[in-house]
Amino acid sequence: MRIDLTPRTNRSALMDALSPILAFLAALVVGGLVVAVMGRSPAAAFVTYFVAPLSEVWSLQEVAVKAAPLALIATGLAFCYRANIWNIGAEGQFVVGGLFGGWIGVASHGSPGDPLWVLPLMLLVGTGAGMLYGLIPALLKVRLGVSEILTSLMLVYVAELLLDYMARGPLRDPAGFNFPQSVTFDDAARLPYLMEGGTLHAGVAIALAVVVLATLVLGRTLFGFTVRVVGASPRAARFAGFSDGRLTLAVFAVSGGAAGLAGICEVAGRIGQLQPSISPGYGFTAIIVAFLGRLSPMGILVAALVIALTTIGGEGAQIDLKLPLDLTRAFQGLLLALVLGADALSRYRVRLVPGATA
């Protein structure tokens, strides 16, 4: 018995569109079964996970604030993954962006009269730092042929420990009773809130703008075309005159920059100071988001909202139903596996070949 995957010659546009929705429904069914096995009501869990967070203004804002960095990072990663280049280190680029952008916030602390240049400079430095940090694995790959998967991943730990050291050491608030954190930023170094008394900050608008921009770049520019051709058909890309090396550098710069921007938006938006850790793993979750969104910026936006929703809902489930946080993680992983599986089924026909061995 052998299982053959033969490409479908005429793919149905309807099934292409429906497959992520069907995958989501299948994930709900499996997740519900697991909840039932754990002795809780699947209906109550559904309400806690997917309805409750959408029913109140504060939790809706929380979903948006959580989704923004995911969408921003994943959009950058889409450029890499479309071109079959594997940046696994967005978490590190996120941290470095937050650290160096935040440094400006710390250094400008106490400047008189809330100068207007502080925030733009923070965003610029954060983006630039993420970009440069992303270029390290890219240069190693192009110049020395080192696998970018390993180097980008390992640089995550370098970045995390660097932030940890800076927040506990040189950048610690001298008047902070030895708490391992920096001064709280001045208002000039904070992203403004979009709603009175809420948590929704301007970083969400930045993320939306980047998603729209990325859609245009991918679809309408020669650079976006290059990314698509290199991913679809590397030899044809060389025939088109596109250089692999330059593209590797470019997509790492784009994804590193997007992750760095997300990092500084998180620091200047939600957190408002430097802490030893500024990310609950956004850079890794964004890899899931990128593939859930099928590497298209608009799809990524939807996927980021879904993942943010389950994360917020998961926190509620921990409190209300005493369901472990790991269940949420498992559900997110399950969702990715099912979406990828459904995608494969809409692209290939599965054929069982009885009795065949060779």
């Binding site: 005429n10 020669l222 075309f225 679809a232 044809a236 025939f239 088109a240 009885p354 009795g355």
Partner: protein, 534 residues
């Protein structure tokens, strides 16, 4: 071993294998539409037809890779069901595929062991390989790695694999497409011997001269139906071709006179190391192509064609700029985009994945090679409307058949995609055009169209370099022909002053001046019993 022939029913003896009323539909498309075919023991039966005529589908049905929608396959008069290749093999049907399925890094014996029953000792296998090899003149060293073998030798592995199963029917799909004339001669001897042993052979080819030489019966398919069954020896190549395509094939206007235009493409001592383990190094390749002429490069696949094409296109840079000159400009160190801007065009051998990205639309594929030369991007922003207009122009000028307004390149048939890619480059009016295998796997009508377009381009003053394995094609369009063998290029000779045989010897690496006798086929003894493969 002698077949027990059942009583005669209608006319002639019961065929060894029969296929009656075969219909195979894929969705709305009918690939085989009521095909009848009878194959008798001891005959070489030709299956002819253009691409898309339904040959491959019928062949796959006979080999158990596909099941027919309607119709039956019979074995000695009994209806059989071929649900999978194992069932076909059990009935004694063997197949030699056009594209070899061999592992390059394994040895000959290891590749053969892959398809043999488990538990066969290496020594027994080698003995059997040697036995089959000496019986049929298929000599192979079982310990050599496949990557070191020529295409002809690789094909021998496939044939030995097939013969070790002691087949009653051998299906051969375009077996000579990768062989030199000399290697093909050796293959014919083997095939005739298999026929004389009482085996049946189904021979699929588009080389009509071979079919006329080897086969006593031919079935011609067109549009999924049998249009004619005949004795090809009594026909001319032209009449067979006309039956295949349904209309008289247009004669291509032969090139006239000696080109006197300026030297537009000049290679001087182009030398490049082999790219990787299985590549071919180029060794001092020198050539000059004038405006107004087509120069043909003959040679068997794997003798440096791909490497030379990449060096011409700029996908591989030459070590020195002066080794490649386009219109006098030292271009060896320029990338492909700069060479295109200088007025050169390129059509690679591999359509899907090199000349075109199969998942992208035709208009995106217009951008692929013309983004810099047709103004399809302005300040880095694509001009989609212009790209669509260019794609429409190419489609109209080259009669490209396709479904939908702007389909993915991979959905086009091979011939139509090739017409699109040729049109994409020719409409740019290149001063220099380099084409690798312009009509490989393309049907006769499309091939004539493409060849005429190349001749027309040359007559407008362009220098055209055609790399092809098809000698007939080169004789049809090229003014001068050179031979590429093992990375070295012979000096080109006028096509009118040479012969297929002379070129064939050079393609095999011999110098025709020395080897006047031609290839000697291993003398077959015409024993009539089949080989006993234990």
């Amino acid at each position: 071993m002698v077949p027990v022939v059942p009583p005669v029913r209608t006319e002639g003896p019961t065929p060894l294998f029969g296929a009656y009323g075969i219909v195979k539909r894929f969705g709305a498309f009918t690939a085989n539409d009521g095909i009848d075919l009878e194959i008798r023991a001891g005959e070489i039966h030709a299956l002819l037809g253009e691409n898309g005529a339904g040959k491959s589908t019928l062949m796959k049905i006979l080999y158990g890779l596909l099941e027919p929608t309607e119709g039956v396959v019979t074995h000695r008069g009994d209806v059989v069901r071929l649900a999978h290749p194992e069932a076909a093999r059990a009935l004694g049907i063997g197949m030699v595929f056009q594209h070899f399925s061999l592992c390059e890094n394994l040895t000959v014996a290891e590749n053969i062991a892959l398809v043999m029953p488990k538990g066969l000792s290496g020594r027994t296998l080698k003995a059997r390989i040697a036995e089959v090899g000496s019986t049929y003149g298929l000599h192979l060293d079982p310990d050599r790695p496949v990557w070191s073998l020529s295409a002809g030798e690789r094909q021998r592995i496939e044939i030995i694999r097939c013969l070790l199963q002691n087949p009653k029917l051998v299906i051969l799909d375009e077996p000579t497409s990768v062989l030199t004339p000399g290697e093909a001669e050796l293959l014919f001897t083997v095939l005739e011997r298999l026929r004389d042993e009482g085996r049946a052979l189904l021979y699929i080819s588009h080389r009509l001269d071979e079919v006329r030489r080897l086969c006593a019966r031919a079935t011609i398919l067109r549009g999924g139906r049998v249009v004619w069954a005949c004795d090809p020896r009594a026909e001319t190549a032209r009449s067979l071709a006309a039956m295949m395509v349904g209309v008289q094939v247009r004669e291509v206007k032969p090139p006239s006179g000696v080109a006197t235009g300026p030297e537009r493409l000049v290679l001087s001592g182009l030398t490049l190391p082999a790219p990787g383990l299985h590549g071919t190094a180029l060794d001092g390749v020198s050539l000059s192509v004038r405006g107004g002429e087509i120069v043909g490069l003959a040679g068997i696949a794997g003798n440096g064609q791909a490497e030379l094409f990449d060096a011409l296109s700029g996908e591989t840079l030459a070590p020195e700029a002066g080794m490649v000159r386009f219109d006098g400009v030292a271009s060896g160190r320029l990338g492909i985009t700069a060479r295109r801007r200088g007025g050169a065009g390129f059509v690679p051998e591999e359509r899907n994945g090199h000349g075109a990205a199969p998942t992208l639309s035709l208009s995106d594929n217009a951008i692929l090679s013309r983004h810099a030369t047709a103004g399809l991007s302005r300040f880095g922003v694509l001009r989609r409307a212009a790209a669509k207009a260019l794609a429409r122009d190419v489609i109209a000028a080259f009669d490209v058949r396709k479904a939908g307004p702007d389909p993915a390149a991979g959905t086009l048939s091979g011939g139509n995609l090739q017409k699109y890619l040729m049109g994409r480059e020719i409409l740019a009016e290149p001063g220099i055009l380099v084409v690798n295998q312009p009509t490989w796997g393309v049907d006769a009508l499309a091939a004539a169209h493409i060849r005429q377009a190349l001749l027309d381009l040359a007559s407008r003053g362009a220098a055209v370099l055609v790399i092809s394995q098809d000698l007939d094609e080169l004789f049809e369009i090229a003014g001068r022909i050179a031979v590429l063998h093992d990375g070295t290029l012979s000096s080109p000779v006028p096509a009118a002053e040479t012969t297929r045989e002379a070129l064939g010897l050079r393609m095999g690496g011999a110098n025709p001046a020395e080897a006047a006798e031609g290839p000697v086929a291993g003398a077959p003894d015409h024993a009539r019993e089949p080989a006993h493969a234990h």
